[in-house]
Symmetry: C2
Subunit: 198 residues, 2 copies
């Protein structure tokens, strides 16, 4: 989770500081190993005072995840609206998405494991945004079919299959693994593009 991503979901400088601290400590100690007290202390607050800004550790997770998700959606929207061939747009979108997953692997893994436990309003919001993100992939695939670049019979299934390729990283990606994140993004983007090419 980047500080930039953390800042996106904050509405005041103090909240921004708390989210950035939480992102850093979750990364260092792991989510389950981090207490609300750890976060409070790192920003010079008592635990009780921190609750003035946030309701729970789960809420912090949800807001960090939403911050990263909004960053990712913004980046995907920029790529998908470029004046480029669907093949080039899809390749760059998958590559950006893989990098978003690997850059935020702790928050993404935790979210994909634990989203059922999120408070309902946040869950509803996050799911709607994830659907919007999926639609960006669906649209570029449908564009590619119309342009006779892609052969996908069903753009929705094709998009879900490609997102599956990427999301499944949360079960196997290790930050200090054999391939660096950049090479992995290129490899998966290449495979995803071939998967729909005519």
């Amino acid at each position: 989770m980047t500080v930039r991503a953390a800042a996106k979901s904050a509405s005041t400088p103090r909240e921004e500081e708390i989210l950035a601290a939480a992102a850093r400590i979750f990364r260092e100690k792991g989510y389950h190993g981090t207490s609300v007290r750890d976060i409070a202390e790192s920003v010079g607050l008592l635990k009780g005072s921190l609750y003035h800004y946030i309701r729970s550790k789960e809420e912090l997770l949800a807001r960090l995840f939403e911050g990263a998700l909004e960053d990712t959606i913004r980046e995907l929207e920029t790529i998908s609206s470029r004046d480029a061939r669907p093949s080039d747009r899809l390749r760059d979108m998958v590559s950006a998405y893989v990098r978003a997953v690997t850059d935020n692997i702790d928050a993404v893994s935790l979210y994909l494991r634990e989203w059922r436990a999120l408070p309902a309003p946040q869950l509803t919001r996050v799911r709607a945004r994830r659907r919007a993100m999926r639609a960006l992939f669906e649209d570029v695939i449908a564009d590619g079919v119309r342009a006779h670049e892609f052969a996908a019979a069903d753009a929705k299934i094709a998009a879900l299959a490609i997102l599956g390729m990427c999301n499944w990283l949360y079960e196997w990606y290790r930050p200090r693994g054999r391939l660096d994140a950049e090479a992995l993004a290129t490899t998966i983007a290449d495979q995803a593009l071939r998967s729909v090419k005519r």
Copy 2:
């Protein structure tokens, strides 16, 4: 979960009967909605007597999942050892795997969500078997590269990406959705094959 799959992990007729009953009731009432008492009653035992055969609901889940996994591995091994081109073997393996996931969607979803909670010996065993299954995909992809049918630069990453396409079904597949399971298997197998083709 099929009764056939359930029976695979049983060692006595009585255990076989209990596993088959558990599979049926999990499917009907959902895992979390099923009590050990429900299962005991369906085979004419008191709850206390059932504990003579099984230790917990988690153990039943693990054994059912292992049964389905062993069935799937056996089927994949049969396909992968056929005297056929790597393209044909990979297509049929993905199709069989998608059908295994969709046929056992309740057990697969639950397992992929809850495996971290399984008792250590079962978890170790299941993870080893999942690695063995992944190796079957890796091997057929490597065969295809050697035969100049496939272009995958890294057979392991390619196998993980394809398994991701399939496993991700647990997050979006609905048994009574728009596409039936057979059409879905064909669509995903086709996309997976294209993803590695030269």
